[in-house]
Structures are given as C-alpha cells and as structure tokens.
C-alpha cells in the first residue's frame, strides 16, 4: 500500500505499550478518585466527580488547541496530513466536551439544586461544545475536496480564538463554580491533589491514545481516497 508523502502512518504496535500504561494510570486515577482522596467536608462524596470532571475539561480544551494548531499548520503548508490531525483532534475533543457538560450537570444538581447555571466556566464549555459541533458540521457539509480542509481550518482558528473571549465576557454573568486555584495555594488537601494529578495524567494519555488511533485511520482513508482517484483518472 503506497504511503502518503512526508508522513509515516504510525504503526498499530507502537500503541500497545501506551495502552498498557493507560490501563495502569486509569486504575490509579479511579482508585485515587473513589478511595484515596479524602471525603470533602461540605459536598460529601458527590465531590469525587471533580476528579473526572476537571481532567476532562482540561483535555477538551487542549484538544481544541491541538485542532487549531494543526489548522494553522495546514494553512501554512497545505499538507493534508495536518488536516487529518485537526479533524481527529476535533472528533475526540467533542467527546470530551460532551462528557464535561454531562459530569458538570451531574455534579451541579445535588450541590446547587439545578442542572445548569450561566456561570463563566459552564457557559464557556457549552459554547466550546457548539463550536466543536459546528466544526464537524462544516466539515461534513463542505465535501471531500481540499476546500473542505481549508474551510474547516479557518473555522477551527476562529473558534479557538473565541473561547477565551467567551470566558472573559461571561464574567458579566453570575459565577457559581467553585474557585479551586488561588494565587497562594492549590485549595485542595494533599490526597485530593494527588488524586487530581493522577486523573489529569490518565485522561491526558487517554486523549493521546484515541487521537493516535483516529489519525492513523484518517491517514489510511486519505491514502485509499488518493488511490481511488488515481484509478478513476487512469484511462
């Protein structure tokens, strides 16, 4: 099978060690979240969802930054491999963004008595979700030609630039989300900080593994499409 110029398709076997490390880290993260971290005095056990919710939020934002970076590289170089990276990051990112909204609502209901509130963090994440979905709708509607890649790249850059502006503007809305990080301390007990660190490591690696698989699939799809175009063009 011909390889795309300039980029080697990552071999499936190189994901196996990563998958095993991910398994171990995830077990550690779940142990930390549900058993190791001490019980929060005010919110009780429902607070433990925080050790999943915050890492998901972090990774969801990083995924969109990854898609934006790949889009800039695509516009600068014109290489379709960067478009595959951008699409892969966005597809995995929308999954994480959806989970952030769901876990946030599950946490909010027993603590604040409401499934939703228009505070800066939640509002920013909801808009990030809509931007992700808009990106995927745009890709699906733009067809398969290079224009699709260009159009999607432009929107990914615009969307990523918008996210901090949503957060800044949402200061005008009331804020209910707990402030964890202060300028002087983490605001968490040591056992909670370790559980959070384990969660961040595990969910970040989960993102890396998923995106690698998706990029590999996307590169293979690109090779097959190019081969099919070549066969159609041949007399």
């Amino acid at each position: 099978m011909p390889r795309p110029p300039g980029r080697r398709i990552p071999a499936r076997s190189s994901d196996e060690p990563l998958a095993w490390i991910l398994f171990a880290l995830m077990v550690l993260a779940l142990y930390g979240a549900f058993l190791f971290a001490e019980r929060e005095r005010v919110m009780g056990d429902i607070q433990r969802i925080f050790y999943v919710h915050l890492p998901l939020a972090w990774v969801g934002f990083v995924a969109f930054g990854h898609a934006c970076w790949a889009s800039i590289r695509y516009l600068a170089t014109g290489r379709r491999e960067w478009d595959v990276v951008s699409a892969s990051a966005a597809e995995v990112g929308v999954l994480f963004a959806t989970l952030v909204i769901i876990t946030g609502s599950l946490w909010a209901r027993p603590v604040w008595g409401t499934w939703w509130t228009w505070d800066p963090q939640l509002t920013t994440y909801l808009i990030l979700w809509f931007i992700y979905v808009g990106y995927l709708v745009l890709r699906a509607a733009a067809g398969d030609d290079p224009r699709q890649a260009r159009v999607a790249a432009v929107f990914a850059i615009v969307g990523f630039a918008d996210v901090p502006l949503v957060w800044l503007s949402a200061r005008y809305l009331r804020a209910l989300s707990p402030v964890i990080f202060t300028s002087h301390s983490l605001g968490l007990a040591p056992s909670m900080a370790w559980a959070l660190a384990a969660g961040l490591a595990a969910w970040s690696l989960f993102y890396v593994v998923l995106v690698r698989v998706r990029i590999r699939l996307g590169l293979v799809e690109a090779v097959v499409a190019r081969a099919a175009d070549g066969r159609e063009a041949a007399p």
């Binding site: 709708v137 509607a141 224009r147 790249a153 432009v154 615009v158 630039a161 503007s169």
Partner: protein
C-alpha cells in the same frame, strides 16, 4: 445594488419586527418584566435577523457573480474583506435602528428614551457581528448546506458580543451613565479589533477556489 433595491434591509427589518411581535406576545403576561427582558429581546431579534441578512447578502453576491468579479479586482483580499465588513456593519446598524424603534413601542418606552446611550454598545456589537459574519458567511456559502449552516457557525462565535453588549444595555436601562459602561465597551472594542485582524488574515483562505 442594495442602495437601489433596499431588498436586504427591508426583509431583515420585517423579520426583526416580526421577532419583536412574537417576543412581545410571549411576554405579554408579565409586562413588569419588559424592561429586564429588553437586552435579551433586542439581541435575540438582531442576532437572528442579521444572520438571515448576512447569509442572503452572500447568496445574492453569488447569484449575480459579483463575488467573483470583486475577487478579480487588483486589490488585496484583506481590502475586499474590510470593505465587505463596512457594508455589512451599515446594514446591521440600520437593522438595529429599526429594532430599537420597534422595541420602544412593542416592549418598553424606556428603550427609546435611552436610545442615545444605547448607541455605543449596540454600534460596537454591530461591528463585531459584521466582522465575524462576513468571514463565516463566506465559509458557509462554499458548502452544500449554504445558509442553513451559517447560524450554527456564527451564533456561538458572536456570543461574547451578545453578552457584553447585553450587559451594557441592561446597565443603561437601569440608569447607568456612559462613564460606567467602560468595562463592556472596552471588551467590545477588543473583540472587534481581534476579529478584524483575524478575519483580514483568514479571508483569503475562505474565498480561495
């Protein structure tokens, strides 16, 4: 062409007025809340009518092949983008004037009394809407879903404009002076400048064949 036919502003204005009527009827059971709801009513109306207008503007350009003719001109694509932003800003401001006049009658007379102080946040909001809408409507019209996809792309991106401008409108209607609107107005200026620069850079990629 729009100066001659006024097709776009007329249709946007009618949609805007109809949206005001629907919101007015829906909120008729709570007249005491009209002033509190005014920022939401203004921006919901302007957002949806302006989105329709931006999509129609780009579609008209494609219909008459004016877009291709403009791109053939020996000027930088960013210059074309800035000119289109200016034109779209004028259209959105015209829509806002109609909506403010209509809302003064159908929603709350306080809106009309404070029209002068409402002008800065609404004008800056119009610029932000036009700047982002010009770029995203060029993207949307290249897809097979065309106008249908524009609200999905545009509305999340202009949400900061709606929030900040809406906050300033609420402060004005509550009796604030221009000097106390510094925060939202500075934010709107920063948003407009950022997306003007970003749009001028990215427009070339959006319209490339």
């Amino acid at each position: 062409m729009e100066l001659r036919s006024r097709e776009l502003v007329t249709s946007m204005g009618l949609v805007g007025l109809l949206a005001l009527v629907i919101q007015g009827v829906a909120a008729a059971g709570a007249p005491q809340a009209a002033e509190a709801l005014a920022p939401a009513v203004l921006w919901v109306t302007v957002s949806f009518a302006a989105t329709l207008g931006l999509a129609r503007s780009q579609a008209l350009e494609q219909e008459y092949q004016a877009g291709s003719a403009v791109l053939l001109a020996p000027v930088d694509r960013s210059t074309v983008y800035l000119a289109k932003c200016a034109a779209h800003t004028v259209v959105v401001v015209a829509l806002q004037v109609l909506v403010v006049a209509g809302a003064s009658v159908l929603v709350s007379p306080e809106i009309g009394r404070h029209a002068a102080l409402l002008a800065p946040p609404l004008l800056l909001g119009a610029v932000g809407f036009a700047v982002v809408g010009t770029l995203l409507s060029a993207l949307a019209l290249t897809t097979r879903l065309r106008e249908v996809v524009l609200p999905i792309l545009l509305l999340p991106i202009v949400l900061p404009v709606v929030i900040a401008s809406g906050a300033a409108v609420a402060q004005v209607l509550a009796g604030a002076r221009l000097a106390s609107l510094g925060g939202p107005l500075r934010f709107l200026v920063a948003y407009d400048v950022l997306f003007l620069v970003l749009g001028a850079w990215l427009y070339e990629y959006a319209v490339e064949e």
